[in-house]
């Protein structure tokens, strides 16, 4: 993520943030039949419960809407995944859009992660209200973000590429309070 590092040089110097490598991101749309077929090709069940994610190894399926899932996989899986999904889905009506370059992912982590996101995210991020495995689109300050809690003190956060410097800088500004 040289691009991210160049535009937000402070991200890797900040203990609360960790840049993630580029990855394969597919926006999957389809009904229950298509979701079940996609799961066979993807190797991870697509969650039917709202705002929940399933992860198997480095792959994950995130519920984004009643007929929408975000599929995450390592960048090197991209070509093989395309073939596997096409085979599994056959003629079942669906839509797959590669949004790998649209978004940038990084982690917000540590015992202060919940507090830090709370400076700009209006959701209740308490572990009881936003448990491990919950994911959703929401906002941080004035930008849309994707938020997925992968551990009690680790959040996987995605932003649209051009919004990343804004989100990162706002998080780092908020984190100044932790330094003081």
């Amino acid at each position: 993520m040289s691009n991210l590092t160049r535009r937000s040089p402070r991200i890797d110097a900040t203990p609360w943030l960790e840049a993630l490598p580029a990855m394969t991101r597919l926006s999957f749309r389809g009904g229950p039949d298509a979701s079940a077929a996609a799961a066979r090709g993807f190797g991870v069940a697509l969650p039917t419960a709202a705002c929940r994610a399933n992860a198997v190894g480095p792959r994950a399926a995130l519920w984004m809407g009643p007929d929408e899932h975000l599929l995450l996989a390592p960048l090197t899986d991209s070509a093989a995944l395309r073939v596997a999904l096409a085979e599994a889905l056959g003629q079942t009506p669906h839509s797959i859009v590669d949004i790998g370059h649209r978004q940038v992912a990084f982690l917000v982590k540590g015992p202060q992660a919940e507090w830090l996101l709370g400076t700009g995210c209006p959701l209740d991020l308490d572990l009881g209200a936003f448990p491990v495995g919950m994911c959703t689109r929401t906002v941080y300050m004035k930008s849309e973000i994707y938020l997925w809690r992968t551990a009690a003190d680790v959040f996987h956060l995605e932003t649209w590429r051009s919004f990343t410097p804004y989100v990162v800088d706002m998080l780092i500004d908020a984190a100044q309070e932790l330094v003081a």
């Binding site: 709202a50 705002c51 984004m64 809407g65 009643p66 929408e68 209006p122 959701l123 959703t136 689109r137 929401t138 906002v139 849309e144």
Partner: protein
């Protein structure tokens, strides 16, 4: 902060939502025989209800879906929300 119940995601904060105007405004089904008055009504004329009002909302910074709500326009209180295609009856609420 105002909390709105998305029919798909549950209770969520208002900044995630976008207002979508009056609900249940049906497009005339037969364009060839639709009169100018009917088109005028469909395109431009909306109720300006004081009190309980059926309106569209979209959970744009969430699941992205449109849904309908019954909201009191004098108090901003959301009585209920429901999925597109549904139409719960409620005393005192018109079409």
């Amino acid at each position: 902060m105002l909390v709105i119940e998305c029919p798909y995601c549950g209770a969520r904060p208002e900044p995630e939502f976008a207002y979508g105007g009056q609900a249940h405004v049906a497009r005339p089904s037969e364009p060839a025989t639709t009169t100018e008055d009917e088109l005028l009504q469909y395109l431009y004329l909306r109720d300006n209800t004081r009190g309980l009002f059926r309106e569209r909302w979209r959970h744009v910074r969430g699941c992205g879906r449109f849904f309908n709500a019954i909201r009191d326009t004098t108090t901003d209180f959301f009585v209920t929300t429901y999925k597109v295609g549904e139409r719960p009856d409620l005393p005192g609420v018109g079409a």
